[in-house]
Amino acid sequence: MATLLTYPLPKQDSLPRWRQTLLDRLPLHADAADRYRLHFYDSFDWRLFMAGKLLEWREHNGVSELCLHDSGNDVTALTTRLDRPPPRFAADLPAGRLQRQLDKLLGVRALLPLTCVDVRSQCFRLIDEEGKTRVRLFLEQLRLAGSGGHGRILAKRLRLAPLHGYGNDAKRLTQHIEQNLALLPQAQNLLAEALSGTSKTPGDYSSGIDIPLQPEQRADAAMRRILLVLLQTMETNEAGIIDDLDTEFLHDFRVAVRRSRAALGQMKKVFPVRTLQRFRDEFAWLGSMTGPSRDLDVYLLEFSALQALLPADLRGDLEPLRDHLARHRQQEHAVLCRELQGARYRKLKQQWRRYLTSKLPQRPAAADARKPIADVAHHRTWRMYRRVLKEGNAITPESPAEEVHELRKSCKKLRYLMEFFKRLYPAREISALIKILKKLQDNLGEFQDLQVQSQAMKQFSVEMDREGRLSPQTALAMETLSDTLQDHMQRVRSEFANRFEAFGKKANRQRFERLFHPDAGAENRP
């Protein structure tokens, strides 16, 4: 909870000499030299870094601790004692404040080790006449771990640790250090320093899509650029899927596949017909091949929430379903790994990359290929928006579920288009419109999920029965759950009219028009 002040020392300085200087010049007592190892962690998508946090496990042969700092200002926010390396998921940490905070920050993402730093540390204390420590000062050398103890020296430093209630003593010692030793405090970015020279950079992966585009850029060039980024996203997530680190790798992979499919589907006049056909088929295969694993992931992630929908006395009876899901997930995951390491996928990637990086044709056959991307984006987005309005307006409380699903798909396409071309529009306005669309999508998505889940319960019970693992109690629990999900679905469905009305209200229509209508002033477009 204390603020630390760090004074970087020149890397070539000798620490024994500093030790002597400190003892000569300041009224300090030296503890025995100590060492510990700092292990840094974050999720694959840098959720802690993005939240301005730094998580380190301080491995010490006495007391090891997991500490969450606010990065930049060296303030220790939360700590818990932890004698083993942190578990993959925050939920498995010892209960407490740190556990809750990490759980909130990380969600379903796993903690992954980033790098280790060995610290040689000596503590100096300012002690009063009662024998009470009033300030602590650490003289430290930090070295990249590994290389048999000969890793790169990252920093040498003095670190002052004031103690609550003894601020005046800390202030006096600070003055001494700054005046007599001519040192200046400076926050250190230890993690960035330790990661320099590796392939990792804090913040280098995000599941969002944010691609800089030039409005006048050829449409085919811009689309290739987008699709290349999506291909990279797929490749980046492969290892995490195969190593089964957490479920988000597969999720992000599938989103990239879906976005690629949407781009191909929406840009029919930008790409050559034959290319389109070939790759659309391959991406459709990739989508359906990865589907079963993802579905089972979702059921397992949501299992407790589903269970909670049941009356308390039935909840336990659902447990065999969890086993069933886990077992099948194992099998599906193995299939998925085989395919991801197989020839069809490898070939797809090779050919796709070759196409996306090939020379742009001088005289493309596709009609829109050479049009400015801004025009194509504008046109496609507007068309899709019109379609969403039309489909949505046609839906009445009596309309069959299929129509709602069609609308859901159109909304998704609209969303992808808006995200691809975000940079072509004023940032605030496009983000606001995406948010408006998202509210409608949430309702449609929930409706779809509930329907699928309700049906899946029936299918799972058939499977479990076939495998001879379905007791009458479990069957009853699953049937009850299926019915409950149906009820919820009706409720969500009945909320649709209001949601759509909010989405399609005049003020919102005008906002969409201002951005995307063909006659909309070019002033809205950069």
Binding site: M1, L66, G96, E130, K132, H164, G165
Partner: protein, 251 residues
């Protein structure tokens, strides 16, 4: 934050030894922990080598003239802080009487600490007074070190009766045997067949041990100088036994 009061109507039963040793164990696990030395004699402050002095005295603290944060002192243990004693605490009853809800003043005062600490240990002075009523209303758990003698048991029953009369049902009262000397017949008899008291005694007991007495000269918790002693082990066992009572959802 869980508020754990180390309390007994009797003095010299090991309240302070318990507060000091358990708070150190909590802090060692990384839990931000605070000890409030409410005894004007300031034994806990002495063990932590902190001057038993609160600027402006208890009056300014309880009248909120001075923020609690201003009087908190970090101890030499990581994650462990102390609100030291002050000689003016001997008049705390008089200070408290001035407030309209005089029994709930302490409880109100510690509210802002809830977001900063996982545990607050109250090291209480003996006796039944307005201060102890404040403690009973502020605490979640009442840890009652009890020497296994007939007389000590009588005061324990008095305490239980008192809490029942006042309807302090929120309070979990956990007595345990302290300063146990198994060479003494009475101690042995009582430990082996503990009397029924409230929900019963915790099963951990603290032996009578010279290491504990040494705390007065070492001025630090047992863990620091006698980690492998029987007494240190007994405090660790007591802490482990307490943990289930410190439900994480409410920490």
């Amino acid at each position: 934050m869980k508020v754990i009061a180390c309390y007994n109507i009797k003095g010299g039963v090991g309240k302070t030894a318990t507060a000091v040793n358990l708070s150190c164990l909590a802090a060692r696990e990384g839990h931000p922990t605070l000890v409030w030395d409410l005894d004007p004699q300031g034994a806990a402050s002495f063990y932590f080598r902190v001057k038993p002095k609160v600027k402006g005295g208890s009056g300014s603290l309880f009248r909120r003239k001075r923020e609690l944060d201003d009087v908190i002192k970090a101890t030499d243990y990581d994650h462990l802080d102390l609100i030291p004693a002050d000689f003016s605490y001997r008049n705390l009853d008089l200070t408290l009487e001035q407030f309209s809800k005089s029994t709930k003043r302490l409880r109100k005062l510690i509210k802002p600490l809830r977001s900063d600490y996982d545990y607050l240990f109250l090291d209480c002075a003996p006796g039944i007074s307005l201060v102890s009523e404040n403690v009973l209303l502020a605490a979640d758990i009442l840890l009652v070190p009890t020497i296994p003698t007939t007389l000590s048991l009588r005061t324990l029953y008095q305490l239980l009766q008192f809490c029942e009369d006042r309807g302090y049902t929120h309070l979990e009262i956990l007595p345990f045997f302290s300063m146990v000397d198994r060479r003494k017949n009475l101690h042995r008899l009582m430990i082996d067949d503990p009397p029924k008291a409230g929900r019963g005694f915790l099963s951990s007991t603290i032996p009578y041990a010279s290491e504990v007495e040494l705390m007065g000269t070492k001025r630090t918790a047992l863990e620091s100088y006698a980690h492998s002693s029987r007494a240190a082990e007994a405090y660790r066992a007591l802490w482990e036994e307490l943990k289930p009572h410190l439900a994480p959802s409410q920490v």
